[in-house]
């Protein structure tokens, strides 16, 4: 931003640089204050830190082996020894949930990464260069959007075959249109901004304009969408595992644990209850955070 103004008008550079610096500083400060002021957003952040902690130190926290079957301990209700009870194979549910947190966070992270990387690339190229690539990519996205929500992911998993990796790929591909459309829209509006036009006029390369001027300025909506998308991806992944298209037994993935607990709902309610609760808390955390970030980044609320 500073560079662009500086190149365009040498005399005013110090003042412009100072102004830009000051604005950036007070803007990020405002955003920070807003994030902290948004209590629900902070709650979301705390939930996430907690989950990350559990996923990172799971093997040391978990009281039991998540895969060890103790047939004499089948169907034990929640107790001091087994806080969340045991399942049909006598495995400790709490320990399985702790280990499964890695899988759920991994599904979220990998799907969002696939969707965001491909989507952002397509959106940037389509928005910046326009032309044939834009036309073709937009028509492809139109077709992808004709498959509602889970349907595209379901179709992809049907082709690739059931496994947790394939679920991540399928959910990731399903979210490409979201990022591509968002970034393309951002690029189209940013392209008309004066600082981008002046950077262009001063002979900056397309690559430089994209990475220095356009991408950083589209980051805030992207972070919001990624945070909300993470929650969605965790839930979609679990839903696919729930119908048997994702993680396979004996994996402690939450969706497949829930699915296994279905048959024992009538008497051993704890087997299906706790994995669902874990999923809900995870998605709740990411949704709260995404909402909080959206409010914090909203330029209308900053002015």
């Amino acid at each position: 931003m500073v560079q662009a103004t500086g190149n365009a008008d040498e005399d005013q550079m110090p003042l412009a640089a100072y102004e830009a610096q000051r604005n950036v500083h007070s803007r990020s400060q405002k955003i920070r204050n807003r994030i902290l002021a948004n209590r629900l957003g902070v709650v979301g952040g705390v939930i996430l830190l907690f989950l990350l902690f559990i996923a990172a130190f799971g093997p040391w926290i978990a009281p039991h082996d998540p895969l060890e079957m103790v047939l004499s301990d089948q169907f034990l209700p929640p107790s001091r020894e087994h806080w969340m009870g045991t399942d049909d194979f006598g495995r400790d549910i709490l320990s399985r949930l702790i280990h499964g947190s890695r899988q759920s966070l991994m599904v979220g992270a990998v799907s969002v990464a696939i969707g965001a990387i491909v989507g952002i690339t397509v959106g940037l190229l389509a928005g910046y260069f326009g032309g044939v690539f834009d036309m073709v990519s937009q028509r492809v996205i139109d077709v992808m959007l004709a498959f509602p929500d889970l349907l595209l992911a379901l179709a992809i998993v049907a082709v690739l075959g059931p496994s947790l990796i394939n679920v991540m790929i399928a959910v990731g591909i399903g979210s490409i249109p979201l990022y591509a459309r968002l970034v393309r829209g951002q690029v189209l509006s940013l392209k008309k901004k004066e600082y981008v036009e002046s950077a262009h006029a001063s002979g900056a390369l397309a690559r430089r304009i994209i990475f220095v001027h356009i991408l950083p300025n589209s980051l805030s909506p992207l972070i919001v969408v990624a945070s909300l998308g993470f929650a969605g991806a965790v839930l979609s992944g679990a839903a696919l595992s729930f119908i048997g298209m994702g993680a396979q037994p004996p994996s402690p993935e939450w969706g497949s644990m829930l699915s296994a607990g279905r048959s024992y709902l009538r008497h051993e309610w704890w087997i299906a209850t706790f994995p669902g609760l874990a999923l809900a808390i995870t998605a709740f955390g990411f949704n709260l955070l995404g909402d909080g970030l959206r409010d914090a980044f909203d330029p209308r609320s900053l002015d």
Binding site: L40, A146, F147, L151, A158, L235, R266, G276, A280, F284
Partner: protein
């Protein structure tokens, strides 16, 4: 208006073509031979028998011919035979379609009623307890895995209290729990959008003018703000129908509800590709149609849209 209608109608043709290409290639992209896939659960037939089946199915023709044959077949209601039941796929789907329509319409009714009511109340009483509570509940609504929510209310109202039947689709009571479960996410999404859209409308000059004229608060909200706030809500409702149709895949199998979704999940588990292809194609076409309709209603509601 008429030109807009024609424009939107023409714009869906390439989308539908694209959808048919994707669905057609689903089977071709599966690793392994489609014919062997048909005999996945049985001993492999002799090679000459495989060649014979390939010929019967037209799999020895050039790919573009296969695609053309596929599209012509689909247009005539020929979706092929189910690998599992050897029945025509089209008939299997059509038999179950009314159940799924019933379920999705009931969910849509739940979602629209709850969503719009909660959204309007939250906007009118912004910052008060009703707004805070409904917005936190709305975030919960999009966070709770719907299949788990379904199991939990099944446990409470079906197993413990025995108020409602836990599975099947014979009476309207069978519809209550699946419809609420399926409508949960959509009501949350509609509530959030209605609130935002309503807040924007309430801040507009024409609402201030209406108030200044001395109209009652109720009239201002219903006649001036709500009408304009509805425009984006109509679009999101169109999009939600897609969410409901694909959500039905999971929820129908939770409640053993004999709809298209349950058929799809069974077909997925058995890798019964003709059935999967047929359902994916049908749901996508319905979805494209619903969105076209939503866009037309949008054009009708908002006279500023012109082509």
């Amino acid at each position: 208006m008429f030109r807009y209608f024609i424009y939107r109608l023409v714009a869906t043709i390439p989308v539908l073509l694209g959808v048919s290409v994707v669905v057609f290639f689903m089977l071709r992209l599966v690793p392994g031979d489609p014919v062997r896939l048909m005999f996945a659960n049985q001993a492999s037939p002799p090679p000459e028998r495989i060649e014979e089946i390939r010929h019967q199915l037209g799999l020895d023709l050039p790919i573009w011919r296969q695609y053309l044959d596929y599209v012509t077949g689909v247009l005539q209601g020929d979706f092929g035979l189910s690998i599992r039941s050897r029945q025509p796929v089209f008939e299997e789907i059509v038999q179950r379609l009314p159940n799924t329509f019933r379920l999705t319409s009931a969910s849509l009714a739940v979602a629209v009623t709850v969503g719009i009511l909660a959204g309007v109340l939250s906007a009118v009483y912004k910052g008060r307890w009703i707004d805070r509570v409904s917005m936190v509940v709305a975030i919960l609504g999009i966070s709770i895995p719907s299949f788990w929510f379904g199991l939990m209310i099944m446990l409470l109202f079906g197993v413990r209290l025995e108020w409602l039947p836990v599975s099947g689709a014979t009476t309207w009571e069978h519809l209550v729990m699946p419809a609420i479960t399926l409508g949960l996410i959509s009501s949350a999404i509609i509530a959030r959008l209605t609130r935002a859209s309503m807040l924007e409308a309430l801040g507009q000059d024409y609402v201030r003018t209406a108030r200044a004229k001395g109209l009652s608060g109720r009239t201002v909200i219903a006649r001036h703000a709500l009408r304009n706030a509805f425009i984006p809500v109509v679009t999101i409702i169109g999009l939600q129908i897609g969410g409901l149709l694909s959500g039905a895949f999971i929820i129908e199998s939770v409640f053993a509800y004999p709809g298209v979704g349950q058929l799809a999940v069974t077909a997925l588990q058995a890798r019964d590709f003709p059935v999967i292809q047929g359902i994916v194609l049908l749901v996508a076409v319905i979805y494209v149609g619903v969105n076209l309709l939503a866009d037309l209603v949008y054009g009708f509601l908002d006279p500023r849209i012109q082509y």
